[in-house]
Symmetry: C2
DNA sequence: TCCTTAGTTGCAAATGTCTTCAAGTCGCCG
DNA sequence: CGGCGACTTGAAGACATTTGCAACTAAGGA
């Protein structure tokens, strides 16, 4: 008996539901990136970033490879990139709409 | 200064990151639905469902309207439906791929 | 070999989220 | 009005996630 689909979905979304993880995934969209660079872009303690990277790794969304003294992360597959692009597009629209909605709500008091 | 986009995204995904909320949203995709019916499809305590519905409401993803003695929920906008469709499609693929991957991993031990 | 830099891991404290139970509101029927 | 069914709300306890410090490993130098 497999994990119900709705539960797999929920887990997946939960994995995306953290600011640091989202930022990492978006940074990786531009190509494989060493930890050092992620660390420079996201202000956070190294150990904390490592924990989040660990989660993404265990979820199979990213891969890590050691290159000399640095570790380089990359998106695990094209699917992941596709999903992120779609999510990004739709969400950007959605949030803009919500912004408009909010503005209307404020205007009508 | 607005909420950073990546944080809004994270919040949004977190909202989708719960099995009950996902199921509710998917049930609502087929049209406005009374609580009674959600309750029949999702096995859960009424008060627990209410809590989750409350979150979806506060997040602006669904709307509630009272009709006589029952309350009917609906998706808040076409955007939400779009996003769910896209998420559903991409995720279904992704999960199938992961399944394949898993099978391969198991086969190669 | 010893030191330093780059990351990761183990934990415990702080925070956040879920579930549940008890109590409350809103319609409706008798 | 009084009571019942359909939901919602508040609050507490259980449970999960996040953070930060300290200890640890791996790779290069000096």
């Amino acid at each position: 008996m497999p994990v119900p689909l709705y539960q797999a979905k929920a887990e997946f979304f939960r994995m995306l539901g953290h600011p640091v993880r989202i930022r990492v995934l978006e940074l990786l969209q531009t190509g494989p990136t060493p930890v050092r660079e992620l660390l420079a872009d996201i202000e956070i303690e190294p150990s904390s970033l490592s924990q989040q990277l660990g989660q993404l790794r265990r979820a199979g969304l990213v891969t890590a490879t050691r290159e000399g003294s640095t570790v380089v992360y990359a998106l695990a597959g094209a699917d992941v990139a596709d999903l992120l692009r779609a999510a990004r597009r739709i969400l950007t629209e959605l949030i803009q709409d919500q912004g408009v909605l909010l503005a209307e709500l404020r205007a009508s008091d």
